[in-house]
Symmetry: none
DNA sequence: GATGAATGAGGATTCATTCAT
DNA sequence: CATGAATGAATCCTCATTCAT
């Protein structure tokens, strides 16, 4: 790079003390996600979000024009796009479909449930009515790919004679509901002032046992 | 004018004749529940609640000292105490435990899911962090009795050799999670601007099939 | 009136202490007019307007949804509609057209210049660029009728052989400009921290002398 | 690249070549004058002023310590000091006083009315109450010299038997008012969203005709 | 009791000003 | 010098709550 200018304006060094334009959006998103999930959109105060991100009120509005715009950015940028990876894992999967299902449930928890991004799920359920267009985005980017993947998992089990499923459309919810419940619980009844925690591993194990016994054809039961 | 109410100014619905003050608290609770569920506690405005209940803003505060007190009253009075009845039904149950489980799921939907009271579930998940003491009340009055009943249902199946359950504490969630998901969905993604509805009957049927196949010991499978 | 109710809700007694819904809008308009004229739209603070009207900040927004809406109401309700009356006076006028012009200038000052409403003129000149639609309203309701009347005054003088006017369209400004200047001066350089006052009577007299000598045909000059 | 300026990043107008810091203050003054006139002091944003001057917000404060200081500098540097020149022209004037008046009106328009400096007049009328000390400066530097000159013009006409004037102090406003009105109109009702324009030449001609007929003694009328 | 006008603390948003780079 | 990210005081506006009628 022969450029003599010592300060390249396009790629900022993230280590600079105080002024970190590059890092701010992400920090704000994280702080906002935390507080929106914790208190809900309306009850979360922008000043508190800014404070948690380590900046002042005004700085927040430098990056996001309004609280609502921030909210939308939170949803847009906090959703974890792991479906490409999951699809690959699905394609490459050699084992039984029961193991595939078990892998999916565990991966769901490990890659979403344990991360900050899991709060988005609660946000969607809590604020759906107040942000219909955000829900539409979420449906397109998260729900649809997720259902699509799960459908293929179930179809694989069917095709290989492993699963016995009557209503495949709604059988998808058989996998979805337990995980959504777990994530929602984690962000509501399961936290706060020392409330009713659920042990995720034990929960998933219990669900998987029943679920797979329920899905698999009889000979397969010995396989568990 | 035989109407005994002296204040029926101009724009009163004639169908709600002679509405008197004894009915007010209940009407306010209903209106508040609707709006809290729809928009969340913070975003719901007391003026709108009062208007939906057909009274003025001032009147609301005559019955409930504050918005928060109203919220607590909503939770307190909108929870349906059907556990006494369910316990009786459980005691008197003569059929199989699988049928008992199926009855429970259907009753859950019929007596809670389809009623306005189902909103309380969403409220608990959405507002748990903002109202820890309300959650404590809800835990005591609803969650605990519910889990207790479901535990007895599962234990009955175990005792009678109908069910095969390893972890009974977490097996309860096997019944809870699908129903909570259904109810939460109904009040969030499932409603509003034409969003992803779930057919409850079909949903419950699909869940029940898998669930009971999963819970029951092998010979019981022919019972489905 | 056989009505037994002591408080007729439609027509409020203006004497009631504290709650005077009927009087509020007018009081707010007056206070707002004063402050908008004094400081301009942007520099006037709604809290100060409310305080000057003797109410709190919140009350202002009970009557006018926003500062801008208040501004528009100020213009709409503070313009003095004296053109009907002036037109009548014009129709009934028996004297010379020179006297008619002199009467118009004096009436302008007496009925507009000395009143609070004269501030609207300053507002229009100061804020025209920020409120184009308000200007359009003002043009329609004030400027057009005013010009129309003055044109008829000048045409009367022409028709009666009293005035000698080449360009009647712009001769109107001959009457308009001095009065607008006087009013604008009164609300800006003429007031405040003891600034350059102009004696209205003397100003109008001096303008009228020159103006009428300038407008009248030569023989008329002796008439002054 | 022979350009000596090291900072000509990307979006610089190539026509304004080699803009250097000496030019900055003037460019800022021009930009500020435009925006103050257009929107008023309070509604004009320093960022927009800086942008219009082609510099950053921070740079503006390098030259002017505050928005108010900038405003004062705008007034101080944008007033056109043409009175020395006008006084010379007055001293050297050989023609009739009527022609002298006509020359004054036209010069006013040509040298002030058509220039950016005319906005100062609007600023003074709009912001007088908010900046009393600026008004005092303006009075001393502009209004007083202007009135002084006009007084001498009128006195010349009187002394030469050309004018007939009763109240010379207020006769000055006979010349001032039409020009101030024209300038104020140009910057408010006369511009913006296609509003009521006035043709300056025609306006001045019409005013001059009437004015001079009004000021001149009878024999002078043939001189027009 | 019921009303709804009035209140004012609270929260979102703006923007002049600062200052590290 | 110039920049523009950051600040926070100031301001508009909301809405739960009060209270005179």
């Amino acid at each position: 790079m022969p450029s003599p200018t010592p300060d390249t304006p396009t790629d900022e060094q993230p280590s600079r003390r105080g002024r970190r334009k590059e890092a701010r959006p992400g920090e704000l998103i994280e702080a906002a996600l935390d507080l929106f999930v914790e208190k809900g959109f309306a009850a979360a105060r922008v000043e508190e979000i800014a404070a948690r991100a380590g900046v002042s009120k005004g700085t927040l509005f430098l990056y996001y024009g309004s609280k609502e715009e921030l909210f939308k950015a939170v949803v847009r940028h906090s959703i974890i796009d792991c479906f490409a990876e999951w699809n690959e894992q699905f394609e490459a999967w050699q084992g039984s479909s029961a193991e595939l299902v078990r892998m999916c449930l565990n991966a769901w928890w490990d890659r979403i449930g344990t991360t900050r991004a899991s709060g988005i799920t609660k946000l969607m359920f809590s604020e759906a009515q107040n942000f219909p267009d955000v829900v539409a985005f979420y449906e397109r980017e998260v729900i649809a790919p997720c259902h699509s993947l799960l459908r293929r998992v179930l179809e694989r089990g069917l095709a290989r004679g492993e699963f016995a499923i009557a209503d495949i459309d709604y059988a998808i919810y058989t996998l979805v509901a337990p995980m959504i419940f777990l994530v929602l619980h984690k962000h509501s009844l399961g936290c706060g002032a020392g409330r009713m925690p659920i042990d995720p591993q034990r929960y998933i194990a219990a669900q998987a046992v029943t679920l797979l016994r329920g899905l698999c054809v009889r000979p397969a039961e010995s396989g568990q």
